[in-house]
């Protein structure tokens, strides 16, 4: 069995990679993908903790798994809406480079 710390480091790294992408990538689609990575890092955590607690308490704790399923569905919806928004932005700005989209400020 892989020690829990490994999982944690893994998910944290994934989270950081996602966050780094959100902070630095210009293309909005990539940013969207990075957000998905971040959500998935949390999913890994949930699944991992679920099995960890099952082991710890000796009874199956399903809530982590269930949560993950919900999260995946939510992420899908989010991506759908996100893409739609990016589409409408592209119509108005002719770009999806997010640092160009900044008429709203100050």
């Amino acid at each position: 069995m892989i020690p829990i710390e490994y999982w944690l480091v893994f998910s944290s790294l994934l989270f950081c990679i996602g966050a780094y992408g959100v902070l630095t990538r210009r293309n909005a689609i990539v940013v969207l993908m990075c957000i998905e990575i971040m959500l998935n890092s949390a999913n890994i955590n949930l699944v991992m903790f679920s099995s960890y607690h099952s082991v710890l308490h000796g009874v199956v704790d399903p809530s982590g798994y269930v949560f993950t399923l919900f999260t995946i569905a939510i992420a899908a919806a989010e991506v759908a809406v996100g893409l739609a928004i990016l589409l409408s932005v592209y119509r108005r700005y002719q770009t999806i480079e997010i640092d160009k989209i900044s008429i709203l400020r100050w």
Binding site: S11, F15, G18, A19, V22, A28, V31, L32, I35, M38, L39, S41, A42, N43, N45, L46, M48, F49, S50, Y52, H53, L56, H57, D61, S63, G64, V66, F67, F70, T71, I74, A77, E78, V81, G82, A84, I85, L86, S88, V89, R91, R92, Y93, I98, I101, S102, I103, L104, R105
Partner: protein, 490 residues
């Protein structure tokens, strides 16, 4: 369980039929009335239960207690639904030139659904789902004016920051799940304590989770430094939606924070209370300071919302029942006064008047009603008696004083001091609008009030005045609601 979910199901049902209805009716105003039906029904039911006690909701006894209908959720739901009504009522005139109006209303209904789910949730899963339903609906809503560049930009920013924050919230929740082994909010505390004593170093994991949760929910309520999206989005979004975001969506964050911080992780209160107190003070100060230098009224109201979030945040470090009641009360009154203020801006936009401060010049002459309403909303936001904003701020700040009285921690009184000083600061920019409206000369021609928006404003106005002068029943409700929230602490 199904019984308790009836209102939400009803809302979702209406949300589903709205786009279809769009093809059937010619006069698009009917869409608003249809959308109002479930909202009004829900509001009526909530009011008669929470305020009148004429009716008792079915209790949730079977199955997993994922949701609970109690006065706390009732009070919050009441605020969300009320804002929903005001927003829906004032929308037809605002979006009269948009296509797909049916979707607009269904998104509003979905947003309200999500918010009420958050209010009802007793489990982190449900809570997160509710947050996301409302969040995704409001992403779409803020980009609804597709012809507007600003609207699209607002939606993009909202979406990116929102997604980022959702991820953080989720990560935080996953960590909490890890350190407590449960997603049930009420059970988190004892389980965490058990884990703390059995596993070393896990407390700092909890701290990390707390910080990320503050960031994730801080986005929702627009607490500094997680607030940066708010002004842009409020400015760019269709004005009624700005109202919805400021008056309801933000309160959803508050509801979630109350639940998690005051029930779920109250055991680690000593870890986070100072941090949140600092955030609260910084939030109100920064919000008010930047608001002073704004020349766009929607942006100014956005910063004012940020400041209001700061006021409400002081509830968390105080954490007494009275404080929660104050926070709740402020949520309610703020829902009315902030949405009212946004609706006045919406009404003016409908009549082709801009959003800049200078566009408000001479409004007192051009439209006495709108000017008076705006003035009362703003004065209420500033906390001038005898308006609702004063009453709720009074309770809110006094709770800080209350808690700081011996033997409580005396530093809490500084939260009240910061609050009142900020109220005075905020008066400056509110008064500037009033000055523009009444003391400066502007165009002469009269402005007629759009009927439905006017009706929405009247509702908000009546509430702002009534809650200011006679708030006994509502305050009593808030206290009981706070009691029912804190009851859940094992």
């Amino acid at each position: 369980m199904l019984n308790a979910f009836m209102p939400q199901l009803l809302l979702v049902l209406f949300a589903l039929i709205m786009p279809a209805l769009d093809y059937m009716v010619k006069d698009k105003r009917w869409l608003a009335f249809v959308a109002l039906t479930p909202l009004l029904g829900y509001a009526f039911a909530l009011a008669s239960w929470t305020l009148g006690g004429y009716w008792q909701p079915p209790s949730v006894e079977t199955g997993v207690p994922l949701i609970e209908v109690n006065l706390f959720s009732g009070a919050f739901a009441l605020a969300f639904v009320a804002v929903g009504i005001i927003v829906a009522l004032s929308s037809p005139e605002f979006i009269r030139n948009e296509r797909n109006q049916g979707e607009y209303y269904s998104l509003i209904l979905l947003a309200v659904t999500g918010m009420t789910v958050v209010a009802l949730a007793t489990d982190l899963i449900v809570l997160f789902v509710g947050l996301e339903i409302a969040g995704i609906a409001s992403f779409a809503l803020s980009g609804f004016s597709k012809k507007e560049r600003r609207s699209a930009e607002a939606a993009t920013k909202y979406f990116i920051v929102g997604g980022f924050s959702s991820a953080m919230t989720l990560f935080a929740i996953s960590l909490f799940y890890g350190v407590s082994g449960t997603t049930e909010i009420a059970a988190m505390g004892p389980q965490m304590e058990a884990m703390f004593s059995s596993v070393d170093g896990i407390r700092s994991a909890a701290t990390l989770a707390t910080v990320m949760l503050i960031a994730g929910l801080g986005f929702k309520i627009a607490a500094v430094p997680f607030h940066m999206w708010a002004p842009d989005v409020y400015e760019g979004a269709p004005t009624p939606i700005s109202g919805l975001l400021a008056a309801a969506s933000k309160k959803m964050g508050v509801a979630a924070m109350f639940k998690i911080f005051l029930v779920g992780i109250v055991v680690t209160k000593t870890d986070w209370e100072v941090a949140i107190a600092v955030i609260a003070v910084v939030t109100m100060t920064v919000g008010n300071l930047i608001a002073i230098s704004q020349s766009n009224i929607k942006r100014m109201l956005a910063y004012s919302s940020i400041a209001q979030a700061g006021y409400i945040l002081i509830v968390l470090p105080i954490g007494t029942e009275y404080a929660v009641a104050g926070g709740l009360f402020h949520v309610l009154t703020h829902a009315f006064m902030k949405s009212g203020a946004f609706m006045v801006v919406a009404a003016l936009t409908v009549r082709g008047i801009g959003e800049s401060l200078d566009d408000f010049r001479g409004l007192g002459k051009r439209s006495p009603f709108l000017a008076l309403a705006m003035m009362l909303f703003l004065l209420s936001l500033a906390g001038i008696p005898p308006l609702a904003g004063f009453a709720s701020k009074f309770v809110l700040f006094s709770s800080a004083v209350d808690a700081s009285i011996d033997p409580g921690p005396s530093w809490l009184v500084w939260l009240a001091v910061a609050g009142v000083l900020n109220s005075a600061l905020s008066l400056y920019y509110y008064a500037r609008v009033i000055k523009k409206m009444y003391m400066e000369k502007g165009p002469e021609e009269r402005v007629t009030v759009p009927t439905m928006t006017g009706a929405a404003i009247v509702i908000a106005l009546v509430m702002v005045i009534v809650l200011g002068i006679y708030f006994d029943a509502v305050l009593e409700l808030c206290r009981e609601a706070a009691g029912s929230l804190l009851q859940a602490i094992p």
